[in-house]
Subunit: 230 residues, 2 copies
């Protein structure tokens, strides 16, 4: 990777993956701008709290923090994360099936937001914690999707100098945890559970993958669980 | 074009171009779902009113009408259409320069919205009134941009069967008016002015292009102007 001191934007969900990406980006760029998207998911308040704690931890100035409301995604519906009528699916092992937590075309919205902000701020890199293992059935978490998105940005923006970086796309969950720990990232400020906000449920797709990652490394996840299911 | 009776989504801004596209799509598809995006532009209330009148005119059922709030674009800023600090540019003739009304990456957001809704509704076509003449300096109004966007949809959606249709992309403004008139579209319910909502200003980029189109056809624009500047 080419060293750059320019401003970069990092999409920070409040989860473990985007924190690892942020910690990695911080080792490359002089200045970071962090953006958090609230798209009406069931655990959005908890994730917002994690974002704030992460910003404070990294002493990010207020003009470089942005929270954007994407509640229109819940108006559109179709996902268990935003629609109370649809049950969050229980992890059944790796599969190519589209999980019920899939928000149609979600990452396209999220990245478009970051691209618009990058144009205004003059940033030329956008970091996202997309990961194949994390989302085996999500069509917009594959490397081929990001390759085409970079072409779309080149074609559809005025500055044409912005690219998406997906540094953890091929990493296993345990390797993401190692990356975060290498950079002393505060994993205790992250949240992955799709179902609950008080203690993590331990059984949804996202909890199951997270717990498996820690188990492989033989270290303890610093957050609280109702049921560790290990 | 292949005849299809399936459901199609039409992006209806309240302007003349999207009305012509809607009238055209109505001649092809049995069922249409109309979506209107409010992105905090100065004339948004007027455009919303036009959308409602157009829906009523075509007797669109309420479940097939959707208004989505995209105010986050004004939070991001950078355009004269959403930022009160930036002046709306006066039309200076055709030019490849990016106008001040450019909202960074705007069409990417708008189309992503339509794609998400299309996935939920089971529609396989999305019609948009993108036009090169209308937006000579807008990077996201070029055919090459839509070609790549279609690839992104194919890669990034679960159904992978949705495509964007841009039937007026190569038409001159006067040809768009002819298309609308051919299908008896209610042009009196459209609004194009970027500056005003009571009467059209007649001098912004958008008014100037609209008036030029009517002048070429030697017919009178049915909406009111402060200054026709013809």
């Amino acid at each position: 990777m080419v060293q750059s001191n320019n401003l970069a934007i990092v999409l920070v969900s409040g989860g473990m993956d985007s924190l690892a990406v942020l910690a990695h980006a911080k080792s490359i760029h002089q200045k970071l701008a962090l953006v958090h998207l609230n798209y009406g998911q069931k655990t959005s308040q908890k994730e917002r709290l994690c974002f704030d704690k992460i910003c404070d931890h990294y002493e990010v100035e207020h003009k470089y923090r942005k929270v954007i409301d994407m509640n229109f995604l819940s108006q559109i519906g179709g996902s268990s994360l935003t629609d109370e009528q649809i049950e969050v699916s229980i992890f059944k092992g790796d599969s190519d099936e589209i999980p019920s937590s899939y928000v149609p075309f979600r990452n396209t919205h999220i990245i478009a937001m970051a691209v618009s902000w990058a144009e205004v701020m003059g940033a030329n890199k956008i970091y996202i914690g997309a990961n194949e293992e994390d989302s085996p059935g999500y069509p917009d978490c594959r490397p081929s999707y990001y390759k085409i998105y970079n072409e779309l940005i080149k074609e559809g923006t005025a500055s044409a100098n912005i690219t998406i970086e997906t540094p953890i796309i091929h990493l296993k969950k345990s390797q993401i945890i190692e990356l975060a720990n290498k950079h002393n990232a505060p994993l205790e400020y992250t949240w992955s559970c799709y179902s609950r906000s008080d203690k993590a449920c331990g059984v949804c797709d996202s909890c199951a993958l997270r717990l498996r990652g820690f188990k492989e490394l033989n270290i303890k996840d610093p957050i609280d669980y109702v049921n560790r299911n290990e």
